[in-house]
Symmetry: C2
Subunit: 155 residues, 2 copies
């Protein structure tokens, strides 16, 4: 995330040759794919009123009850402030409960409420539909390859 050695190829590319079409840019396709997925997601979830991030947080807290906010952020690639706003929203809807950690007084331990668990259950069935829509484009082998390649990007 900090300084990075730029391969010579990139410098050559930048100096002599013009970059071709916008569609040659890998990052461009990732963004478009994300937008398409995001759009379909919000359609599927229009009645639940939950976003990708919010569901991810619910899911994670359900998996690891008592997880601290900082760890939620780390798993979902968010900073502390962003995690705060999302947890705030979920707490306002009484899907999540905050408790001061007994082990480490700096941390908040997060737990799902019963409402939160019900919302997550509904969300998971919606996600099934959403994933089916997405996976329908690929063979199982392709899905595996895609996930593996995407993982290489986000480490």
């Amino acid at each position: 995330m900090g300084i990075r050695v730029v391969p010579a190829a990139a410098l050559n590319h930048a100096s002599d040759e013009k970059i071709g079409a916008l569609t040659d840019i890998v990052g461009f396709h990732i963004r478009l794919a994300h937008v398409a997925v995001y759009r379909h997601f919000t359609e599927t979830f229009s009645d639940l009123g939950l976003t990708q991030k919010q569901v991810s947080v619910l899911w994670l807290v359900d998996d690891r009850p008592g997880i601290a906010q900082i760890d939620v952020g780390q798993h979902l690639q968010m900073d502390r402030a962003t995690t705060m706003t999302i947890v705030n929203r979920l707490q306002a809807r009484e899907y999540i409960r905050r408790e001061r950690s007994e082990i480490d007084g700096r941390k908040q331990a997060l737990y799902l409420t019963d409402d939160g668990r019900m919302a997550l259950d509904k969300a998971k069935t919606c996600i099934s539909q959403h994933e089916a829509w997405l996976k329908g484009r690929f063979t199982p082998a392709e899905i595996e390859k895609l996930v593996e390649m995407l993982s290489r990007i986000h480490e």
Copy 2:
């Protein structure tokens, strides 16, 4: 992925359709990859002060001078209102010029200013570095496959 201390909850949502870990969700990986790319992008572009969207619009307008806003939005998967705000920002910085289309009075024809063209040139060299950072993870064949699969999602 760690210890699961909630077999009860797990049994609950196992009832309809069994969804495993969050990391099994393809959409989840797409979002994480997008966040990682977005983050690196903004770092690379911190001094230029341009976002992905803004560069995409500049690029597109340069490729097709006189393009209408509605067509920009269509190519980049944005609605009219969103396109507006981005073009507004670029116009405020005098990177883009609006002209009423002579062919269709409803449309605005968009053109790059000289400043806009210089900014785009700078942006393209930055993108070279950014793409090198991204492509460094893959073989050429993998890149081709990745782009093809992502296109299946957003096309």
